[in-house]
Symmetry: C2
Amino acid sequence: MENNKNFVAINYIDCDDHYKDRFETLFASRAHAIDRMQGFVDMQVLKPQDDSGRYLIVSFWENEDAFKDWTKSPEFIEGHKRGFEDIAIAKKEGKTPPMKSDFKTYKVISR
Amino acid sequence: MENNKNFVAINYIDCDDHYKDRFETLFASRAHAIDRMQGFVDMQVLKPQDDSGRYLIVSFWENEDAFKDWTKSPEFIEGHKRGFEDIAIAKKEGKTPPMKSDFKTYKVISR
């Protein structure tokens, strides 16, 4: 199981203070759509112990292609549905989005 | 196995270009001293796909105490021996250290 973790994507999330409870609730009840993807291994949502830090959404994949396929899949849309809606509502109301995300990708070179 | 991952420490490493091969070699032949620690679950070393990015050393623990015990253990010294020596040599020669590290800690709130 551990040895098929070859590729990692980390989504670094800057989350407004007022949105943190909602953000955590969304993941506590996540759709698990990503779990159906071929090549998906597992994921964790990490809450920083430093209050000013960013949340990390870490997903492990068998290879980079599996990750790329997910970003173009219906499961990607389904998994992000409620978060995307929150951002769309904020924009419609002329507010800044309650969270900002920054994807970075990595190769696992040692374990 | 996955469900005992409750706590995560990430060491963010800024590595000079000239030191990257050495850094990767050290981890490819790592001491595995950390693996002996009570409460250690697993770890991965992540190489950024963006050349200017930081390496991440990600370790998963059953709880925060297990992580803290490790940072005060002989295994911590043993596991970092060669890297610490490289830094000490650079300092002795009046050079800046070839890598800088920044530890951040997280709670796993969803998986």
